[in-house]
């Protein structure tokens, strides 16, 4: 009963937020520029939620997230550019972008997910470079992809409802997974892989599951991104972009979904705000600012902003605050 009403409150709040934002955009309170920043922040959120699942929950250190984002973007862009900008091709393109990223994640995951943390980081880093080089030379495969000059002429189809509901879907998907027995298994792999093994948990399978799903979300985000700006460049998918997403997940707190969402949105807005106040030649200084934020936060709050906890609507509904931490186990059991 209490859970029902909580869900209802959550659903009503999300719809309410959507209507509010849509109204603010339509009435021009949020201008075109900031509206686009908002769209981008939600796209980054989808990608970051994917990495949150991979690294924050399943503990698999990936430095190549932007590569999967790029695979999704180029796959989706190629489809609508060649087949046309109708809505059904757009949907196909988004699905194909997510699917392609998942498929590649599955194929490279098979060998590399056997590696442990630092080695996995190096392997995914290498993979990211390979994808970047491939994208730089993609015009050799097909002139449509544009190579190092970038890919132009992708129909502009991504609108606010798509990114907003895409982000809601991504969060719901990961949240439900984390609270299921599958999520429990992923968490145990993160905590102690050997202990997970002797619980009878097929560790390779759960690592692969988290990796494939998380990269699929990056691919979906890439597809949305391609149709937001209608222009893709390999530079947008290099190592630094992987680092941005990693930064979001770590800053937000490993194992905190709300932390990831808040940090993703916050960081994109921070970046745009810095673009406004920093002189043009000093724009690259934002990376230094990120680094300083990261260092200060790691000294002050090594567990991240949220430190594995979640903000929950239960606080609004008046649930017992203590239950927010321990209640997780009860629910995990129910679906186990």
């Amino acid at each position: 009963m209490a859970q029902m009403s909580r869900r209802l409150v959550a659903a009503v709040s999300v719809v309410g937020l959507y209507i509010l934002l849509e109204l603010l955009r339509r009435t021009g309170v949020i201008g075109a520029y900031w509206a686009q920043v908002m769209d981008l922040s939600l796209i980054i959120t989808i990608s970051a939620v994917g990495l949150s699942l991979i690294y924050g929950f399943a503990g698999q250190f990936s430095l190549g997230h932007a590569a999967f984002y790029g695979i999704g973007a180029y796959t989706a862009g190629l489809i609508t550019k060649t087949l046309g900008g109708e809505i059904h091709w757009y949907v196909v393109a988004l699905a194909a972008g997510a699917g392609a990223a998942s498929l590649v994640a599955f194929l490279i995951g098979l060998p590399i997910l056997r590696l442990r943390s630092d080695y996995l980081g190096i392997a995914t880093l290498g993979f990211g470079f390979i994808v970047k080089v491939l994208l730089d030379n993609s015009d050799k495969i097909s002139p449509t992809l544009g190579g190092a000059r970038g890919m132009l002429g992708i129909p502009q189809m991504t609108t606010f409802p798509w990114v907003f509901w895409g982000a809601v879907l991504a969060v719901l998907l990961v949240r439900n997974l984390v609270h299921s027995s599958y999520g429990r298994a992923c968490l145990s792999v993160r905590e102690d892989e050997i202990a997970a093994d002797i619980m009878g948990i097929h560790t390779t399978r759960f690592k692969t599951l988290a990796f494939v799903l998380g990269c699929g979300l990056a691919g979906l985000a890439g597809g949305l991104y391609a149709h937001l700006y209608s222009y893709l460049h390999p530079q947008s998918f290099d190592f630094l972009r992987s680092l941005d997403v990693l930064l979001i997940v770590v800053l937000g707190g490993l194992g905190s979904l709300t932390g990831t969402v808040v940090t993703a949105i916050g960081l994109v807005f921070l970046q745009e705000w810095l673009r406004g106040i920093l002189p043009r030649d000093y724009l690259d200084w934002r990376i230094v600012i990120y680094a300083i934020i990261l260092i200060v936060l790691m000294i002050r709050r090594p567990q991240g902003l949220m430190g594995g906890r979640e903000w929950s609507l239960r606080i609004l509904v008046g649930g017992d605050p203590a239950q927010i931490v321990t209640g997780k186990g009860e629910k995990g059991r129910a679906s186990a």
């Binding site: 027995s181 905590e191 050997i194 002797i198 948990i201 097929h202 560790t203």
Partner: protein, 238 residues
Amino acid sequence: MLQVRDLQVRYGAIEALHRVSFDVQPGEIVTLIGANGAGKSTTLRAISGLVRIAGGQVIFEGRDITREKAHRIVALGIGHVPEGRRVFADMTVRENLELGAFLTPPEKVRENMERVFERFPRLRERQNQLAGTLSGGEQQMLAIGRALMNRPRLLLLDEPSMGLSPLLVQEIFEIIQEINAQGTTVLLVEQNANMALSIAHRAYVLEAGRIVLSGPARELRDHPAVRSAYLGEAARAG
């Protein structure tokens, strides 16, 4: 119940186990004793599929499990309480137990947890506490309780006495005996040879990856070589 034949394990160029053979009969407590680095833990890890077996055979209830993966071996009925306990420190006691029942059908979980709580009342009291905040003895109980959640027929115990006070060691070993009395076969690895031999039916002595002695636990206790090599230390420490 368990037959280990000519078991060989290598870590790189180093051979950790040289053709180790032993067996465990249903209902027994069998112990492997030996010094640090003799290969006791490696033997357990090989049985439960955590390290690759280079040669030989492991047969459980008539079935060859030499090449089985760790998670399959758990499903077949072998529970492993690892060295150093390895409880999930950031999860609650209850969540740890639930993970122990990962392969158990949902309708059995409540019943199994009740049994574990009856055996370890302290775990019931602390079920909502994070496992990392438990004392060493409680963590050991949790590690054993977690392995029991899946109702294994064979329980592998790796150094359950490690880092515990003599009084707690006594308590843990009594619990192991009770678990065994209720029908679970136990393969126990211990450095505390004195305690291990006092509850085991049979024992094997491992030295540098080889079995050098074996026999009924009572006889090994009186064996001059065992007394001087292992019990001298243990008697003084205990």
